[in-house]
Symmetry: C2
Subunit: 793 residues, 2 copies
Amino acid sequence: MIDDEKTQKPIPPGQDQEYEESEVNIEGRRVTVRTRKVPPLPDWTKTEIVGQPVPRVDGVDKVTGRAKYTSDVQLPHMLYAIAVRSELPHARIKNISIEKALAHPGVHAVLLPKDVERYIMGNPFAGTLPLLTLEPKYTGEEIAVVAAETELQAEDAARLIQVDYEPLPFVLDPEVSMTDKSPVKFFPEGNFTGGGFGQRKIGQPSVHTRGDLDVGFKEADHIFEETFRTEPQQHACMEVHGTTASWDGDHLTVWESTQGVFGVQEEISRVFTLPMNDVRVIGTHMGGGFGSKGGAGKQTMLAVLMARRTGRPVKMVLSRHEDFMGVYRPASIQHYKVGVKNDGRLTAIEMKSVNAVGAYMSGSMWGNSSPMTQQMYACANVRTEDRAVFTNTPPPGAMRGPSNVQNAWGLEQLMDLIAHKLNMDPIELRMRNDVKVDQVTHQPYHSKGLAECFKLGAEKFHWDEKRLRRNDPASTKKYGVGMASQIWGGGGGPPATAIVKINQDGSINLLTGAADIGTGTRTVMSQICAEELGVAVDRIHVTNADTETTPYTLPSYGSITLASSGPAVRSAANDAKRQLLDLAAGSLGVKPEELSSKDGFIFVTAQPDKRMKFEAAAGAMPERTLVGRGYRGPNPKGQSLNAFGAQFCEVEIDIHSGEVKVLKFVAAHDSGRVINPHTFASQVKGGITMGTGYALSERRLIDKNTGVPVTASLLEYRPPTSLDAPVDIEVYSVDVPYTANNIGAKGVGEPPLIATAPAIANAVYHATGVRVKSNPITPEKIIDGLKSLGGRT
Amino acid sequence: MIDDEKTQKPIPPGQDQEYEESEVNIEGRRVTVRTRKVPPLPDWTKTEIVGQPVPRVDGVDKVTGRAKYTSDVQLPHMLYAIAVRSELPHARIKNISIEKALAHPGVHAVLLPKDVERYIMGNPFAGTLPLLTLEPKYTGEEIAVVAAETELQAEDAARLIQVDYEPLPFVLDPEVSMTDKSPVKFFPEGNFTGGGFGQRKIGQPSVHTRGDLDVGFKEADHIFEETFRTEPQQHACMEVHGTTASWDGDHLTVWESTQGVFGVQEEISRVFTLPMNDVRVIGTHMGGGFGSKGGAGKQTMLAVLMARRTGRPVKMVLSRHEDFMGVYRPASIQHYKVGVKNDGRLTAIEMKSVNAVGAYMSGSMWGNSSPMTQQMYACANVRTEDRAVFTNTPPPGAMRGPSNVQNAWGLEQLMDLIAHKLNMDPIELRMRNDVKVDQVTHQPYHSKGLAECFKLGAEKFHWDEKRLRRNDPASTKKYGVGMASQIWGGGGGPPATAIVKINQDGSINLLTGAADIGTGTRTVMSQICAEELGVAVDRIHVTNADTETTPYTLPSYGSITLASSGPAVRSAANDAKRQLLDLAAGSLGVKPEELSSKDGFIFVTAQPDKRMKFEAAAGAMPERTLVGRGYRGPNPKGQSLNAFGAQFCEVEIDIHSGEVKVLKFVAAHDSGRVINPHTFASQVKGGITMGTGYALSERRLIDKNTGVPVTASLLEYRPPTSLDAPVDIEVYSVDVPYTANNIGAKGVGEPPLIATAPAIANAVYHATGVRVKSNPITPEKIIDGLKSLGGRT
């Protein structure tokens, strides 16, 4: 979890030559951190390895099944733990009978809510989230845990635990929960709070305001009022949440499927009052996180606790069904009122959002949908209000492009709607409201390639031609195109540290704390390291995500991994290289600064044939292993660092069945320097695929009468299969210089998902005239829309 | 294994400001290495943690059985490998039938000599040692390996392999092997070579010579000619040799019970032609090495090979019986001719030694027994000749105090014999021949506390009083005292690197490549780190001996660990501290150089109440984890670094049974600064216990007719049990300043064993008049000696 307290620690006073302030933007949260000044490195002008489509360094391991994931961890004498979960959305538990479970073969222990306290001694987990509870507030909430020698024994024993519930009233609809009619009172001050990262108070929305709405609406030639809705979205990672915990005396080792080992270490250390160096968290290969594995999960703490209780290693891996009863992207209801001049300029935006954030405070910070509204388009008069409303559902969490993905669904459809109304090209409308200064921070954007994305994307998509194409009135197939654009806080930042070891044979060990959550982190970090050292990428072996042996880095969330850890890796490689050049200078009879390293050779820059092999220099290293260390330096002051993009989409709709088929996507992104076109394109394609599911098929449904999730499986939830996902996706990067860090990259993890769903919705409108304001765009909604339009199609 | 080629790599030319030459003395081998210059740190004047008897940081883990050793490593789907070994000391193998073994349940593979070649492609292991052979040259040599799902299945299958031998003649006695009568010719040029580390040639002894023997003997008032013999000594580690190997694609992980993970990594990398970063060697807790685990063993390579062949992790842990058929300290025969003046001054020493080094070249470098003869006592005219003679026995290896332990048995008895003859106090004789300059290198000793050891030891032992005490003629119990002294190459040296990470909560991770072979390395390194940082020792967690995640250091042999890695640890801690002080300086409003760190506080040195808690400074670290890096700097030039010591012993002998009981030991050692009196004393007591076994009970016997070892078990080999070991051992360190490295320590691993056995032999002589010149001093030898003395007792 993001830990506000730590990052926002007050900066000690005093004149300090070694440090300066730097701003980091994580998941839309801007934090100022003190940062060690780092010797600057020259921008790369020409690269040999960076920018190349290097195959994934762990690709063979993954496709052959050799790569180890958390569920592959096997320890001698390991037990399996399974939770007993509430069957009701709100209840008081009168009794739990565990005798039968304890008597079941292979069972070692059952943990109940009362057992938790003596281990964690009042230290809260994730704010106020109980690890086990006697008053479950959502279906699936953890009540007890059982551990046994085999998974089957644990499952059977969990079923033998008898829970006597006293059912309590519950509320699922946030619009009901917000009112006096709510049958549940979550807090005395009310059933909602503000959403997002700022100061928040129960009973009050979080508000951003600038200018004067009245003035703005008066200036307007047109006023649009629209409401958009988004459904919850499940992360549905290929790999479910899982932990294996093993105590060795007071030293704890945890294998975790996580985006950030250091956050998990911090949280375990805090909850169990352990020194951080007694908590070793090891990340494994990851089958996706998408924000759901940013910190420790409940299963992390429960596995640790059960391992303590039983004196045995404990593995707790959720089932797919359990995973679906956990974290997700919150639902939103977005009310917009927008004033526009005839020429398309926005004069006022008022937005009120309602976001359903489950039964606990912990999910509320993700309960906002307005960051793009505040920033994306030039507008002097803006007011946004976000309400994070409590309901009897699990707390949501960060999910790839949190807030912006919901926000874009509304805002980017609204822009399309306005463009159609004003009879303007949607690109032209957006360009007319382009802005070079971040309207929230009042800082200029360090670089903004949005116009370039529009230009390149439109050209590659043949936007002008396709947009004007008419459908054949006689055909039941209708074709349409749509586009949407996107902003995301980018550029990462400190703290991040890396270590580069040069071995005697010239092979390299790169040690970085960064998790590779499936995005290709090992590969791009290897490229950066190889580029800086001037050796082939296969000379690098990456060890990552181990709190004991690799140095600190922020978690792999917020699209910050590359831009945070990458510069640290380059610095570490440079530090190692400088030491090696010192040595080679002696051999070549020149000064170190006269030397370069490239293609496996160290050579006199001005006289390239005066050279020695990299491994020959390494072979002569008196240290046997050179250790290079690199810290991530500060971001430039007074500038906003953001990634931008635009996506273009073509759909085919069968007006008889209402079925939507995505024919083509063109994505143009400004993510700074692309380290690896392969992994860059994979990220974008993955985002578009996920966005297609959000737009067309995914539904997290809860039975309104019982509060029980009814789509808690991959089959019923319906993320896109390989047959549903768009096949024809073209990915482009616009080449806008970015010099805010020493590798020139902004990161591209979340941006590709943000514009996808509204681009599809806009294409659906273009094809059919049906504006679907709530996702997913089901055939029923299309058919209903067509019906209400009358004979238009 | 020590790798001459790497360390002695020619130093590249060129004027190099960053490096200088430095000499390191490892197991009596002096090598010159280039060394990075390191910023000097002030000598510690007053210490808080260093010098304290801190309990072992891993003590609880060890006594509770939680500490993991190589044989505890369990991997999913792991196979167990067992070798088929030669039953004859020399044979040609005509056929190996493996069908029955392959058909045995659970068996996965059998490896034969022909299979080895395609994996190692001609790369030799340990010089010329075959991994598997069709012409075994000693009983127990490896012929084949079988791997099965369980240990029992592997054992059974190994027994089902039928080997058809053609017996060949063999030779066990080195004095026979050296002559034309030898039935075996090991090399065309002869059956011996020089012993030791210098240039050696088959058929020629290694020779050290200075002055003129003829002149020396002419000057002498007395000439002594004596022959001493030593038996082979087994390491008999509590933990036997073992390896677990696991391939993950082309990336290999090896868990090894080893004194040095980096040497094992180098050797595997060389033999299997793998990049070093694809070979991860992890050291575990160690139940002793004593030199026998300095590098990769055959079982290391065979486990790696079998894991490659089967595609499964493979564990190969030797049985105790197999361990006894392997490496050991070589036997020696030492002929001395010494000229002495009436006043005790030595005028000439001629020494010829014969050392039995098994059937392969690999053991020959340990085949010398003369380093103390060359160095210990002032003498202008010296000639030593060492012959390493081949026999049909396994190759010996380094064993705690190699060469010096054998040499001391002869030399220190000889000095005693001379003192008795001249009617001098043996201490006085030794002091008369004291020398301040290393007679081999012609360099002065950086520090030499030998005289202080004599003085302190004699005082604590009440030497003068006890030496003059007379035995009761009527009693069957005779009492006597003896002493001996010792020199050892000490002081360690580069290369060694360490990393110190400060976590946000002020807890520390120390990363060092050094193995803790049972000597307390984790503890003393923690103390050094804690002292330098100014925090309590329990704030330090050590991660060590992992080639992938910890930095390079030389193996834990040659008593170099503390003096090599310790200074690197202090440098790394200092580097981390300086970074933290930079930060704290900002908070306290002073300059970093005005700050100190002690007792968990960072404070203004001149104003100690102006302070902040160490963890408060750590909590404000922008880097979240600070990474300190330290390299071991060079040793001072032109000086010899050595450790010295003297041991005093009292024995009780039953002249009816011939039984020798060691009543008391006093040991005084000059090892530089003592980091931890507990672990220091444990080292000394362990050495004395091992030396007592060497003196009195241990025997590695081989049946002369069949060549089969007959004492290949702990029961039969007879290392001292807790009832045999001396109980009353007093340990002292003399306080002689040593400033050759930044922690002031020389190391104490091997020295305590060197003087023990001759001190006992000298006490036996003092008690009975019987001079036992061959170890062990059995009751039979005492009784025989008493008989030949006639009625003296």
